[in-house]
Symmetry: C2
Subunit: 339 residues, 2 copies
């Protein structure tokens, strides 16, 4: 199992293996790729040499003609609590295959994000999974034409060149409103993502639609949507101002746990009782939400499942599938002490 020392400081290549097992280089290559036309005897023979010499194929060399057996995963950023589950889901599905994964972090910046994708293409990766990317459909489509691609957490239901796997965000928002309604709340507002161009297919937008829909269906108003700025500090200020309003509604649906937690924190600091003075429902069901002193109600997205489905889609796409898939997972409200 351990990696033997390379004998002479020089790396072991496919040629060494071929020499050791007394076959051609091409034959070894075939064994490595499980390609057609190798007898069991040859395979065993070559495998033995590979183990003996501790040979590992160079991904770089492979990439020049064939596959690299590496898939790239692009994350919006590293601290979103939604991500670990998704990644676990991906890794679990990837483990039995002989594919590896490499991650890139977009840091929620468009330029960095596309820079990372390009870099993954430069690395000749076999396919990409983008998690909650910020880039517009046009850019996604352009990249997708160069490499098999699956997108999680970004709605693009008519995209022809890549697959999308999403939680049903409209549904999730509706469930959140329903949960508040069931507990007697009627004056409900939503805190959503800061407005940005090109966001018609962002998850936040879908959640806004679900929110409005539910409010209307239940006959409790048009559904007022507020937006806090994204910058550190400004968001806190916005929440504080909201909490200080004399006409403050008694219930809030926040588009992400990250922000819901800040709101909850501020409410706590302002001496408000939760849920008596203010009820809150977040989105993501992050681990922190479950702590007893936090008790934030939240919408569970089943990230692990999303990751698994995305991986299956990607692998089949690498195998050659061209027709796009656009799949959804139904979310679920986890009610805690904040409602």
């Amino acid at each position: 199992m351990a990696t033997p020392e390379s004998p002479k400081g020089t790396r072991i290549t496919i040629r060494h293996v071929a020499a050791d097992s007394g076959v051609s280089v091409a034959a070894v290559s075939k064994v490595l790729r499980n390609a057609y036309g190798v007898s069991e005897a040859l395979r065993m023979n070559v495998q033995a040499s590979i183990e003996k010499l501790g040979y590992r194929p160079s991904v770089a060399a492979r990439g020049m003609r064939g596959q690299t057996y590496t898939v790239g995963i692009l994350l919006v950023n590293i601290d979103n609590p939604f991500l670990p589950q998704v990644i676990d889901g991906i890794h679990d599905k990837l483990a039995p295959s002989n594919y590896k994964s490499m991650l890139g972090i977009g840091r929620a910046r468009l330029k960095l994000e596309s820079e990372m994708v390009l870099s993954m293409i430069d690395n000749r990766m076999d396919g990409l999974i983008l998690v909650a990317p910020m880039m517009p459909e046009k850019l996604l489509a352009r990249f997708a034409r160069q490499i098999p691609m699956v997108v999680i957490g970004h709605h693009e239901p008519t995209a022809a060149d890549f697959d999308t796997i999403n939680s049903d965000d409209r549904r999730g928002a509706m469930l959140a409103v329903q949960a508040l309604y069931d507990r007697g709340y009627r004056d409900i507002v939503m805190f959503s993502q800061e407005y940005m161009k090109d966001q018609q297919h962002q998850v936040a937008t879908l959640r806004e639609q679900g929110f409005r829909q539910a409010m209307q269906d239940l006959g409790i108003g048009p559904g007022i949507i507020l937006r806090a700025p994204e910058d550190e500090g400004a968001d806190v200020e916005a929440f504080r101002a909201f909490l200080a309003r004399p006409d403050r509604p008694r219930a809030v649906f926040v588009w992400s746990d990250l922000h819901a937690l800040i709101l909850l924190d501020q409410a706590h600091k302002a001496g408000l009782r939760v849920p008596e003075d203010l009820a809150i429902v977040g989105y993501d069901n992050s681990p922190v939400a479950g702590m007893s002193m936090v008790g934030l109600s939240s919408v569970e997205q089943h990230g692990r499942q999303l990751g698994g489905m995305a991986t299956e889609a990607l692998l089949s796409r690498i195998e050659g599938r061209k027709t796009p898939k656009h799949l959804y997972v139904t979310p679920e409200v986890i009610a805690r002490s904040s409602v």
Copy 2:
């Protein structure tokens, strides 16, 4: 700025650039690498063609002979709150250089961890930063002989083939004890990592040493160290049992916030008042700790700085430095309502 469509579905290579600008392939290569022996005129000419054609060098092909300008970052796992800061620190220092980064996740499993490192070597990356790796010194050293390497969050002060960048964990533990002492606590225990072989240089071990040292220096006993099992569920049970003990000490220093938060959660569930019935200090100063309803005191490791220093070390090592560096950053206690 936008990437132009590749003209014929076939990728643009250095040859196209050479043809377009009317120079040799080697000349273009020189421009790309900022190599010696290119006139300003040539450089401008070639650069223009590169922009015009939207050429991007293939990392895979580069890896076959030269550098890939990619550094690999290996993380223990994805949900440790200590990591985002470190990664930000790395990225900030990497941004001005023309290096890119790719991440791998070890999922706290030794086999997976070394598998990832090997994979990064197979990818011909130029260097590696390992964050809190689990693997023993011997394995680290073996890898370090194959690729420039810097390790964060793993003490190996005598390692000859790689650098280590660490928070001064002994010091951090001592500061934590001191903080509790200053507030009048005398019966202090430590919750540390589950015992594992080969851990003499793990951060937890150093923190244990610091804890014992401080307890002795202050003359308040030998310093009792408890260990909770790592598995989900069992740890909760262990904490609950601890809290139920009739002779339970009034103050606890926990080796990581991840566990401190679980303890705090259980204390809260058990109806204990913090800090009146139980004082807690954690380690990592994770964002959650700062929330007002959590208020966990914790030791700040200055992860961003660690990441930055590691990156500088790695780049100089890639440039050819061989003599090892072993650097430390002094931590700091952030006192909150839990003490």
